[in-house]
Homo-oligomer: 306 residues x 2
Amino acid sequence: MPHYVVGHKIPDSDSICSAIALSYLKTTLGEETVPARLGELSPETLFILDKFGFEQPELKMSYAGESLYIVDHSERTQGPDDIDEATILGIIDHHKLGDITTSTPLECWIRPVGCTNTIIKMMYDFHNVEIPKNIAGAMMCAILSDTVIFKSPTCTTADIKCVEALAEIAGIDDPETLGMEMFKVKSAVEGTPVRDLVLRDFKDFDMNGNLVGIGQLEVIDLAIFDDIKADLEADIAKLKAEGNRHTVLLLLTDIMKEGSEMLVVSDSADITERAYGKATSEGKVWLDGVLSRKKQVVPPLQEAFA
Amino acid sequence: MPHYVVGHKIPDSDSICSAIALSYLKTTLGEETVPARLGELSPETLFILDKFGFEQPELKMSYAGESLYIVDHSERTQGPDDIDEATILGIIDHHKLGDITTSTPLECWIRPVGCTNTIIKMMYDFHNVEIPKNIAGAMMCAILSDTVIFKSPTCTTADIKCVEALAEIAGIDDPETLGMEMFKVKSAVEGTPVRDLVLRDFKDFDMNGNLVGIGQLEVIDLAIFDDIKADLEADIAKLKAEGNRHTVLLLLTDIMKEGSEMLVVSDSADITERAYGKATSEGKVWLDGVLSRKKQVVPPLQEAFA
């Protein structure tokens, strides 16, 4: 029975590309391993897979009785629902340490860098395994996506050096141009149902017993939302009403202006004031310089809930 | 303000030596870091520090407001009591993943190997930092201790290769002879108060909401306990009565015969039968081949409590 590698629910490019890259590495090292996914892929990820000739990983929601590697998260709310019935062989991640625990020793490569694929590259180097050209391309795109083409405050010199090395392997002369092409695909919202946009890159967090959902849409120009912003606001209110979340946030991130407009629905009216020192006006607040959910949005919110 | 490196409560040689080795590495890399300890040292650890010319690390129980690296554990019950008020910069460990969480990204090096110091050696290699002779000696002794001179089922080829490399750096021709010398020090029980023996290498675990304390004494010949076994049994019963533990186990491990006698006090009379398939007789059971708490004792017990 092969082992699996799986990223978080509502998979992003990092979750998918790191699953592909890690399963190739493990298989090369003699441990048959296949990538899987916990949901449908975004247009950006489909663009990457298409560009480098990959099939979509297997859609697999249940892992009871299986052995698996977890990539790009360590939070129970973000992983498979039946993770307790699986054996976790390892975790490769670049987020805060979540609440997944194991009953046996395992392998964890967790680093405060911009992207899981930067860590997977370290693993290839550690094991002295050559990265195939197409896997290097996919890894590189995931890093460009997670670091917002190096603009995110989560980006480290390790990420930049890693992109340079992967670009050379993949034979790509200008990674940043490819990054912009990718973000143009990511920016396309026309014709997409509003709920799909809200959930395109959406993560749930347990904050001191409160369930908090945070979505993010990164685009090249925020004007793209002018016609649908009211619909997005209505839909996150609907999403909150449907479930048991204390707060739902949607970040509309302008990667060129380097900031985010945050749409807020919360049981605590003053939540953004307490977390970010700035109150909402009509359920919205502009947060200048905020590009990273992980580094700039989640930690202050967690403090506010503590 | 320097950063700290601290191992688990009731520190063993791995916790202390890895704190010394990691703090030297981090300081060399430009991040001023000092080793600390959460309790008194065992005769074995004192022997190692004396042999290689180290002072005892600072005794420091409170870390509120500090930044620290955690070594040799990832369980809340085993770490500093006020860990929630500290910033965890990283975790280096070789156990199952425990319930410590963080609110910011961090550095985790967790591997299923026999000793934390084997992982610290990988970190030195990764950063291309030379290991000083005395630190190499202390790291080597910690690995010999944790792997019971390579006899433990937790021992991996990585541990054996690491001892070889460290022995060369430290200029030690015969690591196994030094290991036996160390275990002779460890075997000395005469004149030591019974409670000190019970707690010499004692760890608490949260098993599905039940607090379980497991001590271990590794000796060269189990006969050393003949005169004090009844006192040890009485004392673990007393220890259980004093606190809120569901179960207290004391492993008397014979490293030459390669097995352990387990002394048991538990709210569930059949706990060893359910976990290890063997009932106790008068509160004791011999478990052949069992040398490792981490790999052979904890996981089946966790299953039994699940």
